[in-house]
């Protein structure tokens, strides 16, 4: 009888233990994220659409996460009358409720002024958890070219690089904890 009680207590003790003690809060939040919405990029009006589209397309290839379609996000932004150049926590909460997503990407691009003929654009993205408004992932990626490549293409590349970083992070976390 004593043995059975001891085994049961040991079982309860093990059940209460954190399965992955080394998992960070952000990793846990990313692991729990199943649906994501990407807000349109801001920063450079001429190139925002190209960056948004490329980011969304690259992110949609992520097999661990569903990404809300680009036009549905735009419709939600319009319906909620959200100013994407000045996103508040309340906006994030409202959009996540409307689109039924677990996290929202806030994205921006910036044209870098560099000398001579080099063109460069930085893309910065932040994944925000609407429960607590914590930034659970952030990256700043750049793309630059010499001559003859349009800034539209460079903006697309920078956004793709940012999405690639996120995809890699998600893959790494899932491989580490969801064996």
């Amino acid at each position: 009888m004593k043995k059975i009680i001891a085994i049961l207590m040991l079982g309860l003790f093990l059940l209460n233990q954190d399965a992955y003690p080394d998992m960070t809060e952000n990793e846990k939040a990313i692991l729990d994220t199943k649906v994501i919405a990407c807000l349109p990029f801001t920063g450079e009006a001429k190139y925002n659409d190209f960056a948004t589209s490329s980011f969304w397309q690259k992110l949609s290839k992520n097999k661990y996460i569903n990404v809300v379609e680009i036009d549905k996000v735009q419709d939600a932004v319009d319906d909620l009358q959200i100013n994407i150049n000045n996103i508040s926590d309340r906006d994030i909460l409202e959009i996540s409720k409307k689109l039924k997503c677990d996290a929202v990407f806030k994205c921006s691009i910036e044209k870098v002024i560099v000398p001579l003929i080099i063109k460069e654009i930085n893309a910065e993205v932040e994944l925000i958890d609407p429960d607590g408004f914590e930034v659970i992932f952030t990256t700043k990626q750049s793309s630059g070219q010499l001559v003859s490549i349009s800034l539209e293409s460079i903006a697309s590349d920078a956004a793709k690089n940012a999405a690639r970083q996120f995809n890699l992070k998600v893959k790494k976390i899932h491989r580490k904890y969801n064996k």
């Binding site: 490329s54 969304w56 680009i70 001579l116 063109k119 001559v147 003859s148 349009s150 539209e152």
Partner: protein, 175 residues
């Protein structure tokens, strides 16, 4: 550096210069505004409406864009192109940016920076001919940054149109 290797470098620079000035140098990009939804039609034929414009564009250029688009779609062979009537999918193309740039500035700069850049943005709406509903929308950008004596806007049209052809073939092509 030997005289021979210096000669090789000069020759290489010469060919790069010739290649840049003789060929149209520009790029194309696509932005998906509304991803293509399922087409309730088995046929994979497309037709192209008259090209319209939100900005000032010469009538000749609008005709040229439509003609080149139809030819490219036919050459691509991924979709059947209907020219007399509606296909299963109708492509409604609108020019939303049109800047001819400065050919002389392009020639002088040789593609450096954005000097004299000519560019065009086409917004293409895909319409299901049966339901008359919009089933997708993209924006394609084409530009010309350099070329023979600065290159012509034809390269910008070409780059932008090629993006439409590739997206259309990918989404509606069956071969």
């Amino acid at each position: 550096m030997t005289r021979r290797s210096l000669g090789n470098i000069i020759t290489l620079c010469f060919f790069v210069f010739i290649a840049t000035t003789l060929t149209g140098c520009g790029t194309g990009s696509t932005a998906v505004i509304k991803p293509v939804s399922d087409l309730k039609n088995n046929s994979r034929s497309v037709s192209v409406n008259e090209v319209s414009s939100k900005v000032a564009v010469p009538e000749k250029a609008l005709e040229q864009i439509r003609r080149v688009l139809i030819n490219r779609l036919k050459n691509n062979r991924a979709v059947d192109v209907v020219t007399d009537g509606d296909g299963a999918v109708i492509l409604d193309v609108e020019v939303i940016r049109f800047e001819t740039g400065d050919q002389l500035a392009r020639w002088v700069s040789g593609g450096g920076g954005e000097m004299g850049k000519g560019e065009i943005i086409l917004e293409t709406t895909y319409i299901d001919s049966r339901s008359r509903q919009e089933i997708g929308k993209i924006k394609t950008h084409g530009d010309i940054l350099a070329g023979f004596f600065g290159g012509s806007m034809d390269t910008a049209y070409s780059n932008s149109i090629q993006e439409i052809v590739e997206y259309t073939a990918e989404k509606f092509g069956d071969r």
